[in-house]
Symmetry: C2
Subunit: 333 residues, 2 copies
């Protein structure tokens, strides 16, 4: 087997995000493009709201560049819902061929990896990658409807209501995807669905260590290394795992699930999670920082916990995956 | 938007299938590689059995060529289960990076398309693509546990217990993937989950018409055009839809869901369905026919119905997708 590090030449042409009220009220809330007052986005069910968020995110990313609905040649998308209906229903009116993905909360990174490979390979000029999650659809499906008011563990994360859309292109762009490294499925026996950061951290460490080894880089070579949604608990575990392998992450490490909520004033416990977490934070907070030159070399590590409620009921542990994307600003060699 | 027809250079190096007893007793039952007497494959639950089928299918495809577990550089896989646990759990012990897919019953074709693009683009030497379904996991999840003995409509299809694995490679092979065309999401208002062939036929027609137009071919140019699992009902509708567009499919058209069961002696109504249907039929019946030179030019059209039980309960129609793969035997120009 090869090390699965692929160097890419692919620009990030446009990106957009759609979020809920919790995210709007968080520390980076002003950055997001769209939100709705009741998190329903004019729909009658939470599931339809999540589909609408995907549609709005892609439309907004296209509109920012004055592009029409038929501009993407391929769409990659997914979400956490059973049979990924958030994506399939939300994007059904776009004419482009559609590849449905299931990477749990790593979906945005998975789509960006596949999209940038198709652009780099000369197969497409422009590809769209999306992902979404909605707190109310995820809680009902994975745990209990939010109306039940169930208690949550301090290690549990809060599923982000959010969608992010990315347009990847062979045009010259302010930010480009320079390398990608998909992750393997890693399962270290963690069975606690109230602590998914712990289940995902070993997958993140696995991909990150492979990346440093294959690329000959170390944390100092980057301005930011951001995991998708390990949260405070999983983030600490990742630091420990990396330290055991001789790699000190230091100040360059952060996590999208830590960035999106205020730990003191928003009662989200271990931080944000969900496909929409890294998608929205990357689209509307990190990419604009890169465009402004505040960040030049960034590693995004989308992390996903691949269990289902049924697998857990049957006594299985939580397999996880972590997909890495290396983004660089203009002028970075 | 482009027409999304991609010409590929990618060999089908090996393939293998694992099926249940119904499939073993069908008209092409002798072709499949492995089966288990109780469809449990030594596991305690149907879900774990489906995961085990994926593991066995990939191991068998590798063993046919004397390849080790770490031979694939990338794995694409998916299934029908919530959060695609059949694939993630079944393949977690293989070291290759893993891309989870959700394309419903089009998953095998979706994986073959993405895998052959990565091989054609020079990113990988060898990629694995898999898909699976299990009658007992699918019935419980989508309808009711099989023990209930629920009555089925005559237009309903029977979910195949099956898994198929494909190794795609840049080596010279007896059969190669010559072109691929991913499908768009098509939804024509069909809401009857007891007639998914009707929901999927318009997606199949959409991709097939685009393919003939973009490639300048017609049905006569192929020895076989096989849809994944439209079944008898959807297959007839596809013929009608194509006829309305001036294309007579004629004798070259067949459907994997029609091939796998005996319509007279096996009580499966409108034919087979499920991700494992086209995966197992292609891996163990069609590819060997191509290797023997009995078929030279074959179009496989993986068809998927992308609804969830919850989407249907909320009044939504069934969106569908159809992904096309053009396979050619040795010596075909």
């Amino acid at each position: 087997m090869q090390n699965a590090l692929f160097y890419t030449r692919c620009g990030v042409e446009s990106a957009a995000s759609v979020v809920g009220q919790m995210e709007r009220k968080g520390p980076i809330g002003a950055c997001f493009d769209l939100s709705s007052e009741d998190d329903l986005f004019g729909q009658k069910t939470w599931e339809k709201a999540e589909s609408e968020m995907q549609r709005l995110a892609l439309n907004t990313a296209l509109a920012k560049k004055g592009l029409a609905e038929d501009a993407p040649e391929i769409i990659f998308s997914g979400d956490l819902l059973n049979q990924c209906i958030g994506a399939a229903y939300g994007l059904k009116d776009f004419p482009a061929p559609y590849f449905g993905l299931y990477g749990a909360c790593s979906t945005a990174a998975e789509g960006i990896i596949l999209g940038s490979l198709l652009v780099t390979g000369g197969f497409c000029h422009r590809v769209a990658a999306l992902a979404s999650s909605h707190n109310c659809t995820a809680e009902r499906q994975y745990r209990a409807p939010v109306e039940y008011g169930g208690q949550r563990a301090q290690t549990a994360q809060w599923t982000v209501t959010g969608a992010g859309a990315f347009l990847l292109s062979d045009a010259e762009c302010a930010v480009s995807v320079r390398a990608v490294m998909p992750g393997s499925v890693v399962e270290k026996g963690v069975k606690d669905v109230g602590n998914m950061g712990a289940a995902m951290a070993p997958a993140a460490a696995d991909t990150l260590l492979r990346f440093f080894a294959a690329s000959g880089t170390s944390p100092h070579d980057f301005d930011l290394i951001a995991t998708g949604d390990l949260g405070y608990e999983g983030g600490d575990i990742l630091r420990d795992l990396m330290r055991l392998s001789g790699v000190e992450l230091g100040d360059v490490y952060n996590d999208c699930g830590m960035m999106i909520y205020n730990r003191k004033t928003q009662d989200t416990h271990a931080g944000g999670s969900g496909c929409g977490c890294s998608a929205a934070v990357l689209a509307s907070y990190l990419l604009p920082k890169m465009e402004r030159g505040e960040l030049r070399r960034v590693l995004i590590l989308g992390t996903g916990a691949m269990m289902s409620p049924q697998a857990i009921q049957q006594g299985e542990a939580i397999p996880a995956v972590a997909h890495l994307v290396y983004l660089a600003g203009k002028g970075v060699e």
